[in-house]
């Protein structure tokens, strides 16, 4: 997929009701590669924190199953963070409200994450 498609992908994700922002993150260094988000979303913080969470998830998955995670999904009382692995080290991340259509978001993110290559 060409890089020109990335902004379109991010806009499609943020088009789902309840999604506050979507980012492509490099988990090697915790930096934002591309983003589409509401102004209130601190995308740099989201990228850095998601990278740290993915790193911890990776260590736990290796300890438990000797395998790498493809999806990390954190649910909290006032929001949800969903991250799916693309071509290493990229992860596609969405930050959303608690009432977001989660099933649809998971499917869309999964489809787009693998197509980032």
């Amino acid at each position: 997929m060409s890089l020109e498609r990335w902004p379109q992908i991010l806009r499609e994700i943020t088009g789902i009701a309840g999604v506050r922002g979507a980012l492509i993150v490099s988990t090697d260094d915790g930096l934002v590669i591309a983003e589409s988000a509401m102004e209130s979303v601190p995308t740099s913080d989201v990228a850095a924190l998601t990278s740290a969470l993915v790193s911890r998830a990776r260590k736990t998955a290796h300890a438990a199953h000797g395998a790498a995670p493809r999806t990390v999904h954190l649910t909290a009382s006032e929001g949800t963070l969903l991250a799916m692995a693309g071509p290493d080290p990229l992860w596609l991340v969405a930050l959303a409200d608690p009432h977001v259509e989660l099933g649809r978001l998971r499917v869309l993110l999964g489809d787009f994450a693998v197509s980032l290559a």
Binding site: A57, K59, T60, A63, A64, E78, G79, L81
Partner: protein, 251 residues
């Protein structure tokens, strides 16, 4: 029959009897299909596909006992034969033994994780299970339970990662799990997401769900990827209640 026979025998390589038998079965010519399958088995007695074909023929004929024998023979040749596992699951389902059907389908799904028909069949079996059928209570103290309770310092309190895993693996997962749940708390706090409720980590063959049980104790639930994420969360919630009871009894 002649038309089908000549078509299959014109194939350049062996094992054409499998295709011939299958086509006869699909036409409803069961005895002819069985004759072909049995003749093939004379030459290839260790060929799981041939036993599987015979299983399908006998199942279509309503000869469930013969079908089961054939599919079990297929599994003796190839323990992960998906066709045989699906066949045995189907017969179990038809006999309303939903738990056994689910077990066969879960095994098949582990062998062929990207087979959507298996996931669909699993959903069907699970939805057919009577609502009153109780699930086995969580066995927290069992290493093979896939329920791992640990404290905020990464010390294992009880449980393990699942069948075949050791205490060492469970200890290592607890140690790393503590870091994971600490990070989950940090993420939700710094992003203003409120209290974290659960964390799902999914790989190609596994799903892990982490939930807080108390302020100082956490539960990691490990299941194969064949278990749907929603069901895993329901399982984790239920196991969390059992874990809280366990902690209260211990203190």
């Amino acid at each position: 029959m002649n038309e089908v026979s000549s078509s299959a025998s014109s194939r350049p390589q062996g094992l054409a009897f499998l295709e011939l038998g299958e086509r006869l079965r699909q036409r409803g010519q069961y005895e002819a299909a069985a004759t072909v399958a049995n003749a093939g088995l004379v030459h290839y007695p260790a060929l799981a596909d041939a036993h599987d074909l015979l299983g399908r023929i006998r199942s279509d004929q309503g000869q469930d006992a013969s079908a089961i024998s054939a599919w079990r023979a297929a599994l003796e040749c190839d323990p992960g034969h998906v066709g045989a596992l699906k066949g045995l699951a189907f017969l179990s389902f038809r006999g309303r033994d939903f738990a056994t059907a689910e077990r066969y389908l879960e095994q098949a799904s582990r062998e062929s994780p990207h087979d959507l028909t298996l996931l669909s069949a699993l959903d069907k079996v699970r939805s057919a299970r009577p609502a009153s059928a109780p699930e086995a209570p969580p066995q927290l103290a069992d290493l093979s339970s896939g329920l791992l309770l640990f404290d905020g310092q990464g010390m294992r309190l009880t449980g393990g990662i699942g069948p075949g895993s050791s205490a060492d693996v469970a200890d290592a997962a607890a140690a790393e799990g503590a870091g994971l749940v600490r990070e989950a708390g940090r993420v939700t706090r710094l992003l203003g997401l409120g209290a974290w409720q659960h964390l799902l980590v999914e790989g190609a063959d596994f799903r892990l769900a982490a939930i807080p049980v108390t302020a100082e104790a956490f539960l990691l639930v490990s299941r194969p990827s064949s278990m749907p994420a929603g069901r895993l969360m329901a399982t984790a919630t239920r196991a969390g209640l059992a874990a809280r009871d366990w902690l209260e009894r211990m203190t």
